[in-house]
């Protein structure tokens, strides 16, 4: 009988019900769109942020204090501890391995540079450089000295790493951690005697693409062909960036590196992530461990490499956290505003409906209907409207999210069917919220005056 009454009643006052459904549809459409984007924005912005640089720094625990002045590592090559590059595949075996989108090992070597002797032999294991044509002498900024010192930064550009336990090949290096570095010319090949030269150094020393440099360290001289001029705005602008293997040969540390930069997709830091994991309850620890906080990913990396120290690059992590939090807050605010507006519209139409149905409500009370039942009749209709309006709003919201995503990120947000029940629930909540005041008047209605026609 309940459904029969609600169904029969629902067919009446079509115009007003249409208005309510439209209000709910508009509210839920905006909510669907903003929620779709908000749920995607973390991943999307995270990836955008990751293109700006790594957010984790890995160094040996036993390392000496770095002595880095003007981009040059002045520590003796033999000072400090080193890590093994053969172990790096393990990074892709941690719990949040899919969030590790790239890493690059670094080994800085102070070197002396001079123009190449075109007859120089290629070092063993490194491809021979092509003959340099118009080599200019390397000069100091004042232009007089034909040789200079610089730091050679050994790293990977796009290196194939074997992931243990049948994890396949993972390609990583600067192409993954620092894709925004601008190179005029081209990047070096990781297995060639090639390098790129920092823009400041190249300008100062008159180095051009295609030249071959003789790079000397610890009594070993290697010829490196310059494939590009790199601009980063950092210390690399004054350095030579070459394959890691070159740096390892020059420093006589085969298979080793000194620091590792890791780019990981992370969840913005929040109050919970700031807690000390060692003081957490087991349940909280599990929750923390299974959330992609930068701190939990650091912990998991440290478990794989006990001899290293993993440090989040705080400026980046915190900056990302702030931006993500603000963007998310904005999205939630817009959602809330849209739903509140819908609730106000629902309240207006519901108020008029109650006024018009006073005698019917009074009659039901006179016949022995409880307040609860009368409220349920009314809410039943409102929820039916919420179902229709919410479904229409969801469909419209998906389209709106597509437009928003294309405009803001150039990519449509992922379609999430799970949002449909959430949106329908929100529509029901909005319909209920908008009906509260009219509902209160309805259940408190005194039937006697109403039935007298007052």
């Amino acid at each position: 009988m309940f459904l029969r009454i609600v169904k029969d009643s629902f067919a009446r006052q079509a115009r007003r019900k249409l208005l309510t459904a439209v209000a709910l549809a508009l509210g839920t459409a905006v909510a669907t769109a903003t929620l779709s984007v908000a749920l995607d924005v973390g991943d999307r912005l995270g990836r955008e942020f990751r293109s700006l640089g790594a957010n984790l720094l890995v160094t040996p625990q036993a390392d000496t204090l770095p002595l880095d002045i003007g981009g040059v590592d002045y520590r003796p090559v033999d000072a400090g501890a080193y890590l093994q590059d053969a172990d790096l595949g393990k990074l892709k075996t941690i719990f949040w391995r899919n969030n590790i989108i790239g890493f690059a090992p670094f080994l800085d070597v102070p070197v002396a540079l001079r123009p190449a002797n075109t007859s120089a032999a290629a070092p063993p294991g490194v491809a021979a450089p092509p003959a340099a044509s118009s080599l200019s002498p390397i000069t100091s900024p004042s232009g007089g000295t034909p040789a200079g010192r610089a730091t050679l930064i050994g790293t990977w550009y796009n290196h194939a790493v074997q992931v243990p336990n049948g994890g396949g090949i993972f390609r990583t290096g600067l192409s993954a951690t620092d894709p925004w570095w601008h190179v005029e010319g081209s990047w070096f090949a990781d297995d060639a005697a090639e390098c790129v030269v920092g823009a400041s150094l190249a300008r100062r020393a008159g180095i051009a693409i295609g030249q071959t440099l003789q790079v000397n360290a610890g009594g070993l001289t290697l010829p490196l062909r310059v494939t590009g001029i790199v601009t980063t705005g950092g210390q690399e602008d004054d350095a030579v960036v070459a394959p890691l293997e070159i740096a390892q040969r020059l420093s006589d540390h085969p298979g080793q590196y000194r620091r590792l930069l890791v780019s990981a997709l992370t969840k913005p830091e929040d109050a919970f992530s700031q807690h000390d994991p060692s003081a957490m309850t087991p349940a909280d620890y599990d929750r923390w461990y299974c959330s992609p906080y930068i701190s939990s990913i650091s912990r998991q990396m440290q478990e794989q490499f006990p001899a290293v120290e993993v440090r989040p690059i705080r400026q980046i992590a915190e900056g990302e956290g702030r931006i993500l939090t603000r963007v998310s807050a904005l999205m939630w605010l817009v959602t809330l505003a849209a739903l509140l507006a819908a609730a106000v519209a629902v309240a207006a139409t519901a108020g008029t409906t109650v006024l018009e149905r006073k005698s019917e409500i009074g009659l039901m009370k006179a016949l022995g209907a409880s307040r609860l039942l009368i409220g349920a009749f009314f809410l039943g209709e409102q929820w039916l409207l919420a179902l229709l309006g919410g479904a229409a709003g969801y469909a419209a919201g998906i389209g709106l999210a597509h437009l928003l995503g294309q405009q803001v990120f150039g990519v449509s947000p992922q379609w999430r069917p799970i949002l449909l029940p959430v949106v329908l629930g929100m529509a029901a909540a909005v319909a209920t919220l908008g009906s509260l005041v009219p509902l209160r008047g309805m259940v408190q209605l005194d039937p006697a005056p109403v039935l007298r026609g007052e």
Binding site: M1, F2, R4, I5, D8, S9, A11, R12, S359, E360, L363, M364, K365, A366, L367, G368, A369, S370, R371, L373, P447, A448, L451, R452, G453
Partner: protein, 237 residues
């Protein structure tokens, strides 16, 4: 020694009701036994509808006691009052008061639903008893005034209430429909139902066993129609 009154359905004891400064009912007392048909009469504003509303649990007395079937209506809480309305009384209003979007049979089932469980077959039988077997699925707007009032009567009776409260049930009807409704009320009375009927019409009032006349909220007089009719017959002869 006075014999106790059996099957007392209504006991009004010094019932008063005020609305602000207006005294709608002023210490009204009377009793109604089971199976009686009482006509409540009086000019407009004399408190007839207020009295019916108090007995029907739609209003509460300001003072005094209104006891129906042993229940002091004025002391009931909201939930008990709701239950009381569903169980003890059946209302018939001058304005019919049918739910406009429900069919005739659904309007009757509505009262069943509020009482316990809707039983369509029983609702159909109730409508057949009032001569509306061919109007079951009609909406109120598709029924004449008399038909609507008969639906209201069927609805009032469906839960077998102890007391039928009819507030000017023929006030909006033409003569033919008025006769139809009054015939039904007569039948109900014959069947032993207790009826309290508010009317302005002396002719209708005379159909009842007694007439309770109110004036300015006070009980003016109670007239036993049997005595009056007997007296009239004697005078005539």
């Amino acid at each position: 020694m006075t014999e106790p009154v059996k099957d007392l359905v209504v006991q009004a004891e010094l019932v008063s009701k005020t609305f602000g400064t207006l005294r709608a009912l002023d210490r009204v007392s009377f009793q109604v036994v089971a199976g009686e048909w009482i006509a409540i009469m009086g000019p407009s504003g004399s408190g007839k509808t207020t009295l019916i509303n108090i007995l029907g649990g739609l209003d509460r007395p300001t003072s005094g006691r209104a006891i129906v079937d042993g229940v002091d209506v004025g002391t009931l809480g909201e939930r008990e009052l709701t239950r009381y309305r569903a169980d003890k009384v059946g209302f018939v209003f001058q304005q019919f008061h049918l739910v406009p979007y429900l069919s005739a049979v659904e309007n009757v089932m509505l009262a069943q639903y509020f009482h316990s469980v809707a039983d369509e077959a029983e609702a159909v039988r109730a409508l057949q008893r009032v001569g509306l077997g061919d109007r079951l699925v009609h909406l109120p707007s598709q029924l004449s005034g008399g038909e609507q009032q008969r639906v209201a009567l069927a609805r009032a009776l469906i839960n077998h209430p102890k007391l039928i409260l009819a507030d000017e049930p023929t006030g909006n009807l033409d003569q033919a429909n008025e006769d139809l409704v009054l015939d039904l009320l007569r039948d109900l009375h014959s069947a032993g139902h207790t009826i309290l009927l508010v009317t302005h019409s002396l002719a209708i009032g005379r159909l009842a066993d007694r007439r309770i006349e109110l004036a300015h909220g006070r009980l003016a007089q109670i007239i036993f129609n049997v005595d009056e009719n007997h007296k009239a017959v004697q005078e005539h002869s």
